[in-house]
Amino acid sequence: MKNKALKQTPLLNQHKDLGAKLGPFGGWLMPIQYEGIIAEHIWTRQSASLFDICHMGEFLIHAEPKNIESDNIFTFRLSSMPLGSCKYGFMLNETGGIIDDLVAYRLETGKWMIVVNASTKDKDLLHISGNLSPEIIIEDISAKTAKLDLQGPLSGDIISQLAGEGIGGLKYYQCGNFILLNRNVIISRTGYTGELGFEIYADRQETADIWDIILADKRVKPAGLGARDTLRLEMCYPLYGQDIDDKTTPLEAGLEQFVDFKKDFIGKNALLKQREEGASKKIISFISDTRRSPRHGDKIYSEDKEVGFVASGSFSPSLGFGIGIGYVENGYDWIGAHISIRNERSELAAQITDRPFYRKGTARR
């Protein structure tokens, strides 16, 4: 796709001024890196980084709690979420494949925000509106909403100085309304890096002002989608379209904990059947013996048998060696197993390990 056909974040000029390398992601022209992926990654783990995440989609759902109680869309119950809480989960198709992974925010008793991936936003909206009962209203607020992520061990101190001490009361996966630069914003204590962090949702017209005031704090540097990817991979957080998709179920992806089987949802029968019969593929995480990294699409071998494929792979800046996530046939997924990762150009030795790769994250502190 030519860059011209890509959607633009409201911060494009800021990124250019900062010397960012720009690239396509999910139909958007986004900053991939500024100073360098490794430097941005390490800075996020040690101090704080600001990420432009305006490409992601946001929907509002307005509903009487009793009307949404019986929705068949989400793998968790919106109506039982405490006010001011966030919840991660899925929308599935009839075969249990993941249409998208998402985070829901309960903003008011009868109002939720659903945050979805950029590349799946339009199909998500069709799926939700097609399955909601008519008295429930869904509103796509993506075009007027900015999303900025502040992530890193110092982010709590930084955001408190800007949006008030009250934000210190937010626990992991809680959200609320705050005043930032005299504007109303939604802030949640969530993220995709494994570090203490906050996601800020504001009016799109205010994106640049918020971006600038946060970056005025010298403890904060901008970070791009490159570092976001290595940070999330060290935590084994799935990336939609790469680690999970509409042909992969939450059971295969090791994400069963985000599925409430006490509730009805599209795809539940397929999941129950798979739970009974066993999944044919299983997710694994593995580490390379060297600095050489596994890559998306590489094949996984156990001795001389091809048993699976690499979904995500990279060099781990925190650990100093290659790491990856992949899928293997059932029975080859035991922790400690030695595997080999192959492509046309190379073969590397790896070992299946438990997750996450990185264990010093501050997200839940």
Partner: protein, 129 residues
Amino acid sequence: MNVPEDLLYTKEHEWIKIDEKLATIGITDYAQHSLGDITFVQLPEAGADINKSAVLATVESVKAASDVYAPLTGKMTKINQDIVDSPELVNQSPYEKAWFVIIQVKDFAEKESLLNPSDYKKYLDELAK
């Protein structure tokens, strides 16, 4: 992008420094910048023969793996173990500390296919368009 005047270049973004029968080979500032943080380098054995356009080395960055091709035919006389041990040198010092290999050149006629600094700069300008 830094393009030193005393080197020759290829469109695959390698630089070549010719000193009598020896050629020192590395990747250019443009190459290291496009690759981003380099995390792994694989070099051939010293003593091996290599043909022009054969894979000389493999370079991995955080985001991708790519091959470096031999710009000339010859025999590998020396490899730079420092960049294997510290791949970040390729980003920090592409023309000085991070040379890849030195080869004894077999056929100097092949030199004609290399670009001089001003032609390489023109080529980079075209790429930027």
